[in-house]
Symmetry: D2
Subunit: 370 residues, 4 copies
């Protein structure tokens, strides 16, 4: 349904980069759930550009306003609508290049799809800025999950040729990075990673990377066998994030060269009388349904298409080949900022699946004992 | 919506491996579209087990019966329902192992989700057999696409350590493999690939692989910017195929180590006055919307979880650790059979997106000139 | 979504009157729910024609076969698919009149919509016969509701000019009529009603009527404030029943001439400490949400369009005015048979809304104490 | 899906009466469609209270702001979001009565559903004010329909015991009433109707009425045979309007006492070579699908539940019987204001069905010749 997704909990995203505001409608929440403005602000801050040579110098406060569904810091149970005003828009930078299609961007596809009526300023509806609304809505969901004992964590597994440490082998999740820092398990990788990103930026180029998410505390039995598998649900959401071009669960593409005996996760009785798996190569999902182990997946984020090197392109109105040198403000790498988008959209996707199984009221009153 | 997917064209899948029948309801087709029973039968045959040591010895005719929506070889415009009878079910093989959870399978998650009431015979609703219904329905969609000038092709990019030749660099699609043969661009790879699969099977083990799909003729402008991107739509469907654990478009996970200048596809004016890209690293999709170049993506299919080696597991009713040696009939590799599932579900997913943009009637009357 | 409806529980209907079979897919049921074949058969029997001059002489056994989702009389939690074979089809009767549009029927609209490819035999997908599948699926839902303490009752409030007694004033529901009898509160009205129907039939004409449904035991708080109100949900389903042309809740169209003071239902504390209303003019629904009083609504069923009197019409292929005298087998009144369709679809619609609020598992484990 | 409705075009409604703003997201529009602010403002004005003793003295300007999806007076093809600020909220009036359930309102059901966390001020999400957002969004749809040659008209068929003249017998639609006037076919009925409403208000009471809608120019073949019939679609939307308690098409409940020969509409060849019906008792719909004749339906709007007479009710927190005398500002009749809500939501519902059949692009490029 285009810009609305979800079964029991649904999320509608709207807005253009240089329009009055971007926003989201989150429907299907129980009433009385706490909405912690500080937590949302912290998530917004993780997504926000910082103007430090690593990300665009467009630095807006990204203050989240609730238009509906929240009173006195609690959900009312009706649609929760939030908006973020667009305050720092310099459309002039973009207007110059409007006729020239930016390679790797949606300029051409938008032109064809919207027949010239698209809002092209700043990427319009295709701008990464739109994800700010998703982050705010997903942050609300993440808090609801936390109240149910489900924790979602995302780190930069690899970026600009620098890899992070792997997830702990015991199924535990690392702590969130401190505010203002890259989401990394090993903080020592931050400076080399930033240096590599800056080097790409200094060369007028950009870099991509891999984001890895792990979810702990999700009970077994969530998700559906065919179209609404945990994997389908999360992949659908991840591929809606601009620049994500791949999603893999557990051993992912590594499965291609494994044998079954090396790929299967042996079942064992856990210390607490619950069934566990000795390994987690299936990423916490069997047959599309959560198995109680951490849900683990990775996405690949392509390099920012806006680079400062001269590129070959087309002047679309003139229907002629042309050269393009992009102006304006652009991140040499969006991977660090995308981490919180992936994290919060994962929270939304899993809250939806949990609600299908346990009902709206369980969001507030808790899951039944397994 | 659990076992139903699609916006303008929807597909509902039902059935258990050892129940009376499996089937599908395909809704949203125009009236008067040809339904070619021979083409559907050929697709079913590509999916079917062949009992030659490469796939399970369960060899059912898989004859597709239409219960509704087709008269005299044409769609009526009302829901098209098809069923495939389950004729060759030897539940005895499975009953023995019902208490022991098969690693890598959905036995445990089904038990938790369905509280012991699941149909466990032969994997029940989680069996790969259910995909036969998807193939039949998707084959109908593939024919509709063909009538609109859109062709879908899938080959085994890699399996059991043997890789196929790459897709042609000129955007053309290879011919379909002859009936009874693996879907490969280079037929010379078939015998080495089969030998590698047989070797794994002879060792009581199994292997996985990678399937690559390319779609030619899809007009630019199809798909939606956020949740219903071409990538979200296709990934959602691919991850509903049992054993698929990863999906990537274009350069996919390779983007992680590319720079923007190496990742962007330059736009050029094509010979026919249409905009093309000089390369296709974005897999035919920009901003979630088709750009007129071939849509290219790969999935990874994990090794068959049913292996004959002794495995550690749990006796679930007894809540005790146990060993398991699987009996019954199982493919050492399902990748070759999964190719047609991926191909036909891709056809369904794209027909849905095309119908959103052009309407139901366009399925029959053709797309407007670009 | 065309032939699929429902949020947490969804129903897909398929089939043509003279095709191989009609059927339904019911998805979103919990596992382990009892499926009582006798109860379903009894519902099917209430809908079935009896060939006694009151309904069409087409008397098929209407045996329900389960293709999936049921094992050993219990749901498995996966899609429940049922079919009813079409065994007694005499298409010859219809072929004669295919060129002549039957007034009041969907012949013309089907021709336009499906461009001549519709299955016109016996009304095809528009036949009242399709409702048999809805009855079977809804009967399953009705049993689930019964397990949750929710009872659904429908009677013929008026038919052929004869009215039934009103619903009891105390909110209790009457007993179901005995098998083979009209669904009436006052059995003494049956013979006059049948006589009036037969008289219309003997005159080559037909009659309509009003069906009234009451639901007891539905907890307060079910339904959504705007688009998914109890009223929207049930009206959507009722208007999908062929021949239903109106739906009203509580005082319904009578509200037009009431004052607010006569229309409002005063709240009072009930004997059991729950809030009740002194009257029930709002039909158990305030603001789209159930208030714990019986949900009461009425539909109007138009007279059977198939009559034996000569009618003016159009020969569609010839594009010429023409006269039509209908042959074949047709009920002079479908109101008595439609009662069970209304009753079972109501059960489906309410089970869906209950599941949204309480979750899938609650279908089996019961609703939380209020 | 709770507060989102529609297949190809979807509408999401949000907001509370005394929250910061109400609004709507309209998704699925083609790009380049004109958005006429004056027409929208005129529709808003028809819905707005006028403080003249006929409607509440809450008179807000109801200015529609577009947050997304519109640039330079044209749609961009991405989600169109509009908000209306709540500027004139006197919550004090309501706070006094918060503990006392208002009969006929959603106070009780909201309390149960939202467990005390509802925004009770001014009716919150249940307020008729929420319909302002629906009017603005529907007005956009109405303009799109106008561009396709489809016109929607609604009048007050009956109110406060005064009936309007009937719709013209020739299928033509009356002119819209002048701004500031009741939507009536016969302007001479306005003063008696207003007098009757004022008389009810002066007595501390309220009145209801009947709204009738007619749609001209809708091509035959729109709508689906089962769940997405024209009747199901429109009834679903109408019953989402607060206070609507009944919907009937064509002869509606009058069918109960008609014979088939009096109910059927004879087909005839029209002057322009198209098939027409000699009468229109089926309200332009056969088998759920439009037949090319005007779509005609009526709704009943119950009397405003807020009356000034003393009423019996319950103090919900105290769980005790109590008396209530409502303060604040309330219309003695909302029927005149509801007319434009019905009209614009009808436009939305039909645009959705048209788009399913003809595709998104047809909204801009027109319907194919029949």
């Amino acid at each position: 349904m285009k810009n609305t997704f979800g079964s029991a909990v649904s999320l509608t995203i709207f807005g253009e980069s240089h329009g009055p505001a971007i926003g989201a409608v989150l429907d299907g929440l129980a009433a009385g759930l706490p909405v912690d403005a500080d937590f949302i602000a912290a998530c917004m801050d993780r997504r926000r550009a910082r103007g430090d040579g690593l990300s665009t110098s467009r630095t807006e406060p990204d203050r989240v306003e609730f238009l509906s569904g929240v009173v006195d810091g609690r959900t009312t149970g009706t649609p929760l609508t939030l908006v973020v005003q667009n305050t720092n828009t310099r459309s002039g930078d973009y207007a110059k290049t409007a006729a020239l299609l930016r390679p790797g961007h949606a300029d051409y596809t938008a032109w064809v799809k919207y027949e010239g009526y698209q809002d092209a300023r700043g990427g319009g509806h295709f701008s990464g800025r739109i994800t700010a609304a998703a982050v705010a809505a997903g942050a609300v969901c993440q808090q609801v999950l936390a109240g149910l004992g489900v924790r979602v964590y995302t780190h930069i597994a690899r970026c600009a040729g620098v890899s992070d440490a792997p997830l702990p082998g015991d199924g535990s999740l690392p702590e969130e990075a401190a505010p203002g820092h890259f989401s990394l398990i090993d903080p020592a990788r931050e400076i080399p990673m930033q240096q590599a990103i800056r080097a790409a930026g200094a060369a007028g180029d950009s870099v991509g990377g891999i984001l890895e998410t792990a979810v702990a505390g999700l009970p077994a039995g969530v998700g559906e066998p065919f179209f609404d598998s945990v994997e389908s649900q999360l992949a659908h959401l991840m591929f809606s994030i601009p620049a994500v071009k791949g999603v893999e669960f557990g051993a992912g593409f590594g499965f291609a060269d494994l044998t079954g005996s090396a790929a299967n996760d042996a079942f064992r009785m856990g210390a607490d009388g619950r069934v566990v798996t000795a390994t987690n190569r299936n990423g916490g999902v069997n047959g599309g349904i959560s198995n109680g182990m951490p849900v683990v997946f990775r996405t690949v984020v392509k390099p920012t298409p806006s680079i400062y090197k001269r590129q070959q392109t087309v002047d679309y109105p003139a229907k002629a080949d042309a050269d393009l040198v992009i102006q304006g403000r652009h991140d040499p790498c969006i991977v660090p900022r995308a981490a919180v988008v992936q994290n919060t959209l994962t929270a939304f996707g899993l809250l939806d699946l949990l609600t299908v199984r346990y009902g709206t009221l369980a969001q507030k009153h808790g899951l039944p004992k397994a």
